[in-house]
């Protein structure tokens, strides 16, 4: 498996999430339905093969591990990511994060406010300052791909 393949496999998954699941989540009547959707999201993303999970890709969250691969298409100035997590709910939430930022230009990525977007999806509580579920750490890692001023 190569990074190109992973990126290629991720794309349609994100598209599906964006077009179908996000609305489902936003409109979920109760938390159970929301979580049922969330747990499906993770499954749609391709898993990063074990041997590609290099230590430097590990995003440190306290209670579950996650990995992030970043690819910057310099010609078109587009940022692409692949991610994986041991925990399903976290992976689902991270998949949403990915939907929001995948393919962004550097400028877009830099000014992107993840917290705000999560808020609109009624998911804000997940982006607390806690490192508990690794979600904030993932958000920080994605933001860190944005070159320093």
């Amino acid at each position: 498996m190569t990074l190109e393949q992973l990126l290629a496999d991720t794309k349609p998954a994100l598209l599906e999430i964006q077009q179908r699941d996000l609305t489902d989540i936003k409109q979920a009547k109760d938390w159970q339905s929301k979580y049922r959707v969330l747990m499906q999201l993770g499954k749609k993303l391709p898993a990063i093969p074990e041997k590609m999970k290099q230590p430097e890709l590990l995003v440190k969250g306290c209670e579950s591990r996650a990995w992030l691969l970043h690819y910057h298409d310099k010609t078109a100035d587009r940022h692409y990511f692949v991610l994986d997590s041991e925990a399903r709910i976290v992976k689902g939430l991270m998949a949403i994060m990915l939907c929001l930022v995948n393919g962004m230009t550097t400028a877009e990525l830099c000014k992107f406010d993840l917290c705000h977007s999560f808020d609109q999806l009624n998911l804000k509580p997940y982006l607390s300052q806690s490192r508990g579920n690794g979600l904030t750490a993932m958000a920080e890692r994605i933001k860190a791909c944005c070159p320093a001023k």
Partner: protein, 410 residues
């Protein structure tokens, strides 16, 4: 039927009125504080605030008297021989670091051995590792039996290697198992070792009697014993406290200072550099005073009832893998839902306002052992019960767990 009135007990905690929706089962991480503790801290700041041991004025003398009374209260609670055997630290972690650092050179020499166990909290592993590596001291580790108990046969064999220090926890913060500490101390002493007990969880279950246990060191944190954050206790026999090299140097702990030479003050001051957490110590002693209004045997019985109800409820839920044994258990249950990541289970409990912790609980070596035998390679969900928890809360947790299993395995 116990004589313990949990509803009356609960009324002392403002937290439960403030957060009525929550079932708090993360007690092994930190406990809630009764009003008596919160009020004692506030009252100190409002009425008696002053620095200690320094004052030429009565306010400072009163603050000092309160601070030293707090020391006496702690010393009384653990039945220390002397008040100065109680050293206030910022927590159990700080206390264990002081011991490990303080024994290097003074007691431990290159080539010496120390003995830990497989189920220690990181706070009772990493301080030893850091210093031992540097000084060339060898660490041996007591393994576990198939039931996740300490292997007492192996323990005796390892003691024959003549470790100079043996350090182990009173109660495992992951499994809740109560260790046979009295027997372990006896054997370690017979082998000539200095004994250190990590009582962070142990002191919460039951007051430990230093003269009866006769260990050399015992440490715990205030925040796990109904007390404030930022305060902990390092108990040590005078002889050994005198031996420790202080990890912190500063104001009150020295006797005279020049740029040529510095001499240390006597106990307890030599190990308490700088302004101590005065309000923290006073809060901790208020916690102990308050707790002594209750019968500890009745509290233990109450917690046992909760534990029994929890275990019996768990047995009715499909796919639950329990890591903790119900016997000799202080009220902490580590479990997993088969094939599910503990973070997912905990998150679904969180959605239902059940506060538990998931992960490796700062005990990675324990989990690397458990992973070989169980569904525990990603850690576990930990439900830890306190005296203020009710049977109703146990049931709410069980229902929530059922719901979580349903969603996860749908």
């Amino acid at each position: 039927m116990t004589g313990f009135d949990v509803q009356q007990f609960r009324q002392h905690f403002a937290f439960f009125q403030q957060q009525p929706d929550w079932v708090y089962l993360d007690n092994a991480a930190t406990m809630h504080k009764p009003d008596a503790v919160i009020d004692a801290v506030s009252a100190f700041y409002q009425r008696h605030n002053s620095n200690v041991h320094r004052g030429a004025h009565r306010l400072s003398q009163q603050a000092t008297a309160q601070f030293e009374q707090a020391r006496a209260t702690v010393a009384g609670y653990i039945n220390a021989r002397n008040n100065h055997e109680v050293i206030f630290t910022s927590g159990a972690t700080a206390a264990l670091n002081q011991i490990a650092f303080g024994l290097m050179h003074t007691v431990l020499q290159p080539g010496d051995r120390i003995l830990l166990t497989q189920l220690e909290h990181h706070a009772n592993i990493v301080p030893w590792q850091l210093h031992c590596q540097r000084y060339g001291i060898i660490i041996d580790v007591v393994p576990l039996t198939a039931e996740h108990q300490l292997d007492m046969v192996a323990y005796q064999q390892l003691l024959q290697l003549k470790p100079k220090v043996v350090s182990f926890s009173h109660i495992s913060n992951v499994l809740g198992h109560i260790q046979p500490v009295a027997e372990m101390v006896r054997q370690a002493k017979a082998a000539g070792a200095i004994t250190v007990i990590d009582g962070a969880q142990g002191i919460v279950y039951q007051p430990a009697d230093m003269q009866q246990l006769d260990c050399d060191f015992y440490v715990f944190s205030g925040h796990k014993l109904y007390g404030p954050t930022g305060i902990g206790v390092l108990y040590g026999k005078s002889q050994w406290l005198e031996t420790l090299t202080p990890i912190f140097a500063g104001g009150e702990m020295i006797d005279s200072v020049s740029f040529i030479n510095t001499t240390f003050n006597k106990l307890p001051f030599r190990l308490e550099a700088g302004t101590p957490n005065i309000a923290g110590a006073i809060g901790l002693s208020a916690a102990i005073d308050w707790l002594q209004n209750y019968n500890i045997a009745q509290i233990i019985e109450h917690k046992l009832l909760l534990l029994k109800a929890f275990y019996s409820g768990l047995s009715a839920i499909k796919g639950i893998d329990i890591l903790s044994l119900p016997v000799h258990n202080a009220g902490i249950v580590a479990l997993n839902v088969d094939g599910q990541h503990p973070a997912d289970v905990a998150e679904l409990l969180n959605q239902q306002h059940i506060a538990v912790r998931a992960g490796q609980h700062c005990a990675m070596p324990l989990f690397s052992y458990l992973a070989q035998h169980n569904s525990a390679q990603h850690g576990a969900v930990r439900c830890s019960f306190a005296a203020y928890n009710t049977l109703d809360e146990v049931n709410r947790c069980l229902l929530a767990l059922e719901q979580a299993v349903e969603i996860l395995t749908a």
